[in-house]
Symmetry: none
Subunit: 148 residues, 4 copies
Amino acid sequence: MVLYITYMEILIRAGDELPIYRQVMNQITEALAVGRIHPGDKLPSHRNLAEQLVIAPLTVKKAYDELESLGFLETQRGRGTFVCLKLPRLKMAEQRDQIAAAARKLLSLAYMVGLDFRDAVAILKKVENEMLQGAPSAVRGTADKEDQ
Amino acid sequence: MVLYITYMEILIRAGDELPIYRQVMNQITEALAVGRIHPGDKLPSHRNLAEQLVIAPLTVKKAYDELESLGFLETQRGRGTFVCLKLPRLKMAEQRDQIAAAARKLLSLAYMVGLDFRDAVAILKKVENEMLQGAPSAVRGTADKEDQ
Amino acid sequence: MVLYITYMEILIRAGDELPIYRQVMNQITEALAVGRIHPGDKLPSHRNLAEQLVIAPLTVKKAYDELESLGFLETQRGRGTFVCLKLPRLKMAEQRDQIAAAARKLLSLAYMVGLDFRDAVAILKKVENEMLQGAPSAVRGTADKEDQ
Amino acid sequence: MVLYITYMEILIRAGDELPIYRQVMNQITEALAVGRIHPGDKLPSHRNLAEQLVIAPLTVKKAYDELESLGFLETQRGRGTFVCLKLPRLKMAEQRDQIAAAARKLLSLAYMVGLDFRDAVAILKKVENEMLQGAPSAVRGTADKEDQ
DNA sequence: GTGGTCTAGACCACC
DNA sequence: GTGGTCTAGACCACG
């Protein structure tokens, strides 16, 4: 079922060390990974999303552009921005590195506060549940069929 | 047992999105979390470590400075840089946030390449083993600690 | 009223025992204490201030960085450096210690040149007047603050 | 009355930003300013004082040397270190600058925690009382008269 | 134009 | 030899 996404569950932290456009990118790819949005879905326009997030339109535009150049999004002039039907695959090496880095980070944070491996897994489980909840507001897709 | 750390297992990836001084910081705090270095240990001088890593001394210095202002390291003029005897504790709220963020990152990366929860845990286990291996070269501490 | 500070009343004494970046830090916190600058104000860029003071940009940057890690300033990439809306509070013990140390210093210097307590208070009064005078050049803030 | 000072009320803070030898210098000149030690008094040997303070003898030596070159102390080979009978006077300009700087520091610290001028004066008064109390252990001088 | 990072030196102060 | 400071550039990323 293809959706018109009208509201994205994105949280911007202004003072964060991660630039705003990266926060937007990350949360869009996370939503994708978790299945809150799907291939073919239509994202809000960059101006619209910028308004929702109370940030500069150019910043959202940059996030969309980056995601487009990475192969996650596809912009159709005059129609809007869509999630690509065929999502890109990272190279195996990059995948491994990134996942391993995230794992190291999680473990060292956990160890530093006295948790052990089992605790870390428990947290992971809890976070998984959170991620699966909460879906974006959407209306049924009425777009032409040629872009599906 | 307090050690003079003479060699740090630190890997710099030049093109990484993380700045070099942050890579150094992260790997020092990881070494701490995992127990490869301990409170009271003496780290190599920033010049020395810079030489080992083939980067500019100021870059290592910046990493040490940040870690000092975070309460992990302590520098003594003319004597060297040491791991604080009393390590800082994050507030509970910050702890939870940071750990949860790391967990989200790990899961979304895993999902994005088609892995499931069990796979993620398996990776976590593998990474744990890697982190526990490899200890820095060191000599037994012979310093008098009474003037610290 | 939030201001764009364009000129800071900062005097650098090159040969001073206090390093330049500390002189900058001190005079910024003094300006804050005395009300010459306020929470939310935008400071000149570190390059700009460095030009005004005829010192290296990195030196001002270091002062800003330290003040940021102390919680006085906040930097936003591409936007500038601002006085924090919520200024940090020292712990009572630290406060007392620092103030007492400053008082000791003042008195011992005064005594050493033959002044007495009343003289010291008179000097204190005179210095207070100096500190309250002189405000930085500034223009009215026109920035939208909603994205901070 | 000339004294043999056998114990100095000196507190060393190892991690302080002020180098140790400066802490020693400052506290000796403060003791002088406040009248806890007097011209002609014999200070403990640098080794002895170093032992009391649990710091390196060379560090105390450096403090004594500096104070000697400033005209506060006088070392007599084989006899010991004495407070000069004729204490040096700083140049007027230096005096004014240093005292004013101390006053600025005191006021800005006080302002920053919400105190006003009267509070600052009250603190000053309290500190004065503390400084006048506490005298160094000493025995009556039995030294030859030629150095008095 | 802003901050963020980095380099490759230099000189000094400390212990 | 250690850390502390400073310079005078450079290039990049952000908004």
